[in-house]
């Protein structure tokens, strides 16, 4: 990649040194496909609020059911958070669609219910997609 030059008087390094530096800066960690999917899921939840109801493929009763489930969450005390310190606004962290696990589908359900603010949705999504050890809610 050609390095942008700011002016002719700019100090340079020998090309061999630059090559050596770049060679050593190669990452020792790999970004896994799981990590990629986690970010993609977080983005999907974040932008879900822009979906118009006209384009929503889910049946009409779904939004009402999700809203009722979210309203119930506000009344019923929530379980202790699994990942403390993720964020204070995690009251929606629950199995909203009764699928048996807390996942990104629950985040989307909360987003579509219209009952949560964007920060709440983001906090819920961040918690769901946090790279937690296997066995915990995802």
């Amino acid at each position: 990649m050609e390095r942008p030059t700011d002016n002719d008087n700019e100090p340079q390094l020998p090309a061999t040194l630059i090559e050596a530096l770049k060679a050593e800066d190669q990452p020792t960690a790999l970004i896994t496909s799981r990590a990629d999917r986690a970010l993609e899921a977080q983005a999907a939840a974040h932008f879900a609020a822009r979906r118009s109801t006209a384009r929503d493929w889910r049946p009409a009763w779904y939004a009402a059911a999700a809203a009722a489930a979210v309203a119930l969450l506000l009344v019923v005390p929530r379980e202790p958070s699994i990942n403390e310190g993720i964020g204070a606004q995690d009251v929606f962290y629950a199995d909203v669609d009764a699928s048996g696990r807390i996942d990104i589908a629950d985040v989307l359900a909360v987003a579509r219910s219209g009952r949560a603010t964007q920060p709440d949705i983001d906090a819920f999504a961040a918690r769901v997609v946090t790279l937690s050890p296997p066995g915990t809610a995802r």
Binding site: M1, E2, R3, P4, D6, E10, P11, L13, P14, T16, L17, I18, A20, L21, K22, A23, E24, D25, Q26, P27, T28, A29, I31, T32, A35, D36, A38, L39, E40, Q42, A43, A44, H46, F47, A48, A49, R50, R51, Q118, D122, A126, V129, T130, L131
Partner: protein
Amino acid sequence: MHRADAMDRQSDEELVRLCNVGSADEAEAAFGSLYRRHRDFVLRVALRYVSDNDSALDAVQETFSYLLRKFPPGGAGLTLTARLTTLLYPVAKNNAISLQRKAARSGNADQDPDELPSAADRSNDERDVLSLLAGLPADRRELVTLRFVDDMSLQDIATALGLPLGTVKSRLHAAIADLRKLPQVKEFFEN
């Protein structure tokens, strides 16, 4: 996949615009492109400040979560006035440093969380770029890395670090002058 390919050909400015005002699908695809384009850079930055891979991956996630929050549902979010890397760099660095400090508090008490990991912390099988720059003060080491490893322009470095351009220029001059004196890089200047 077709949408992803088309998005990957867009400029950062266009992708940011779509994240701001695009439909849900467009914004999601645009953000995905930004992520794929810049994730390796963010990871490399993080690895300069943390001593374990898990912390580096966490720093990557936190950095892009931060970027995601720059695009509120109603649009009118982030406006690019410089290259996106000038925004991502300080965020990635600060996230990595915070994670390293957390690890230092809970683990190795000898680890100075404000310093780059020393050569001793790295695997013996790895050649260590930090050893080539060892002996330079941290701020000058950072400048050399940004300029010659990350290929950032002096203006972009100034923006990323929040420094005047003149300061970046003079510090880089001083950094290279110091670098010339280091025994481990002397041969590069002599050949």
